[in-house]
């Protein structure tokens, strides 16, 4: 073929070879398969012989093919819950001050580390079939030597008659965040006031007050809070009140980011 390919030929070639081609193993019944006429193999070969010699047409086909495949890919993909959360945070930080925005942008570049410092918050909602539950869940946080790890405070009960037997019960609406042996964070979720309170100790590694992001999982705008410095006990505190019942993700800015 000495002449250049027409747009129609390019599109038919792409559709025949990449878009409408039957897969090698097709699970649909023969009568469900497409009836749109595909190019015959000899026509495809002529086009490809031309593409081997013509850079201009190759460029055109590449562009059209890339668009067609990205369209098909988009039709078949959907974001994960975590990706939707990340997008929400990215949109929410646009209205923040430059310093806070820069810190969060840096923090978000490593999503895995972001998730490793995040706990699930269930506020007056249903969890595992139980209604009106308020609890902090640390399940998604991977235990590692580095960084923060979380633990619940425990209440002890002793069985009557046997003083040596001890039972422990986790208090699940409070969570301690620790680095090494030291507790540096206390998170409390309160059902009555629909409030989350986070108290954080000062540390040498942290030069400014930590940022906390509370992301509603179901829908809504993430709440970004820069904690307030407490004068008397050299720590930081934030309190978010009036939250709607539901599931949230609470992300805590790690110390290393700064």
């Amino acid at each position: 073929m000495k002449r250049h390919l027409t747009d129609e030929e390019i599109h038919r070639y792409i559709d025949s070879e990449y878009i409408l081609k039957e897969p090698e193993y097709d699970f649909s019944k023969p009568d469900e398969r497409n009836e749109i006429s595909l190019m015959r193999i000899d026509e495809i070969l002529k086009i490809e012989e031309h593409l081997d010699e013509c850079e201009l047409c190759l460029e055109k086909v590449t562009k059209a093919l890339d668009f067609s495949l990205s369209f098909q890919q988009w039709l078949n993909e959907s974001p994960s819950v975590e990706q939707k959360m990340l997008l929400k945070v990215l949109k929410a930080i646009n209205i923040e001050e430059t310093d806070v925005k820069t810190r969060i942008t840096k923090w978000l570049t490593d999503w895995q580390s972001f998730m490793n410092n995040a706990v699930d918050v269930f506020l007056d909602t249903t969890y595992n079939g139980i209604s009106n539950i308020t609890k902090l869940l640390k399940e998604r946080v991977k235990e590692s030597n580095k960084g923060m790890h979380f633990r619940y405070p425990v209440e002890s009960f002793v069985m009557r008659g046997d003083p040596h037997l001890c039972f422990e019960k986790k208090v699940e609406n409070t969570l301690y965040g620790s680095i090494g042996q030291e507790d540096i964070l206390k998170i409390t979720a309160q059902s009555e006031k629909r409030r989350i309170t986070i108290k954080s100790k000062k540390s040498e590694k942290r030069s400014s007050s930590p940022i906390f992001i509370l992301i509603p999982v179901e829908g809504g705008v993430p709440i970004i809070k820069l904690s307030q410095e407490l004068k008397e006990d050299e720590g930081y505190e934030i309190s978010i009140e009036g939250l709607k019942p539901g599931q949230y993700l609470l992300a805590i800015e790690p110390e290393e980011i700064e």
Binding site: D15, E24, N34, E49, F67, L75, N76, S78, T109
Partner: protein
């Protein structure tokens, strides 16, 4: 004596076969070169820009293809009335050479190899898993398990690609066997065991090198978000008739198109609401961001059909003759479907792609 004769015969047949497969060299050369240039340009740019290198790569591939094809000749099938045997044979040879090319790319950790494998086979593997996995089909949980198993199939394949032997079968059959193992594991896993119990050390292996990963960077995610917005705007402005656009957008929300055919009694207005609700779940945008994008589509629901179908589209006007004075939003979806709704959906999907592609490439 008979055995000697048989061995001689086989040797002669092999010589004849090698001659026949050698005759296909120009065909395979052209096809492979184009495929490399179109799909692997990022990873094989040094070969593409150097003619000699490209020739060498292609000729090595073809030589192996001919050997492999001889050992797999029994798998060559030609369905009656579909195409002549030589056409089937050439397509089959090309599929082997493509397997060999993909395998080489994947073993050398070239990202485009794994991406192309995923593009070619993710949907068939997912439907294979959905057909064979035990569970309540049609639920969100089942769909999510199928998706996870499909991703796991490709990730496991990537780890064990070196074990694949092209002389024994196709890449696709190997993927199916990986998927089969995973389905079996799922079926035999006691429900009482926590997921941690079944975790293997290999899950902590090196990170996935190909692009289809759930760990997207903020930049990649924002890029996807922007791309979706652009595509949506183009689809709504240039995609064609509102009912076609609605159905194409609905196909994004489901793996099974019969889900859409089940909605054929719904009015177009209700279908629009259904689509908006379902779409926001599978979209990179929130519902409030989608509303302004969908506005032109929503507006068209209040128009009578005769204002939507232009007078030059005689065919559609004739088919819809009795409905032209009715408002589009009130009409049920089924009036727009032909005899076979699934074929109609496929056709609309292709039409919308063609229109949007034409417009985007022209601009």
């Amino acid at each position: 004596m008979a055995h000697e004769q048989l061995i001689d015969d086989v040797k002669n047949i092999h010589t004849d076969y090698m001659r026949l497969s050698g005759e296909q060299n120009p065909f395979l050369t052209t096809r492979l070169k184009t495929r490399i240039k179109l799909r692997f340009k990022n990873d094989l740019i040094d070969k593409i820009t150097n003619k000699k290198k490209l020739e060498k790569t292609v000729s090595k591939n073809i030589s192996r293809t001919r050997d492999v094809s001889w050992s797999r000749i029994k798998s060559l099938m030609c369905e009656e009335g579909q195409q002549d045997i030589m056409e089937a044979y050439r397509s089959w040879l090309f599929s082997i050479s493509l397997d060999i090319l993909l395998l080489n790319m994947i073993i050398k950790h070239k990202e485009s190899g794994m991406n192309e494998l995923y593009r070619l086979y993710n949907l068939p593997i997912k439907s294979y898993i959905a057909k064979n996995l035990f569970g309540k089909k049609g639920t969100e949980f089942f769909a999510s398990r199928c998706h996870d198993l499909m991703m796991e199939t490709f990730q496991r394949f990537e780890r064990y690609a070196g074990n694949f032997n092209p002389y024994k079968g196709s890449l696709f059959s190997y993927l199916i066997s990986v998927a089969d193992h995973l389905i079996k594991d799922e079926t035999t896993r006691p429900e009482t065991l926590t997921p941690d119990f079944n975790e293997h050390d290999e899950d902590e292996a090196a990170p996935v090198f190909w692009a289809v990963s759930s760990d997207l960077s903020p930049d990649q995610l924002q890029e996807k978000n922007a791309k979706e917005r652009f595509l949506l705007e183009q689809i709504i402005l240039e995609g064609g008739y509102p009912w076609q656009i609605l159905v194409v957008l609905l196909t994004k929300t489901t793996d099974d198109r019969t889900d859409i055919t089940r909605l054929s009694d719904l009015s177009i207005s209700n279908l629009f609401l259904e689509m908006k609700n379902a779409f926001s779940k599978s979209s990179f945008h929130e519902e409030d961001e989608l509303n302004p994008i969908f506005k032109p589509l929503e507006k068209s629901l209040c128009l009578p059909l005769k204002e939507i179908i232009p007078s030059k589209d005689h065919r559609s006007r004739t088919v819809m003759e009795g409905q032209l004075d009715k408002t589009l939003g009130e009409l049920p979806l089924k009036v727009f479907f032909g005899k076979d709704p699934l074929k109609t959906i496929r056709d609309w999907n292709h039409r919308v792609l063609k229109r949007v592609r034409k417009k985007v490439l022209e601009s």
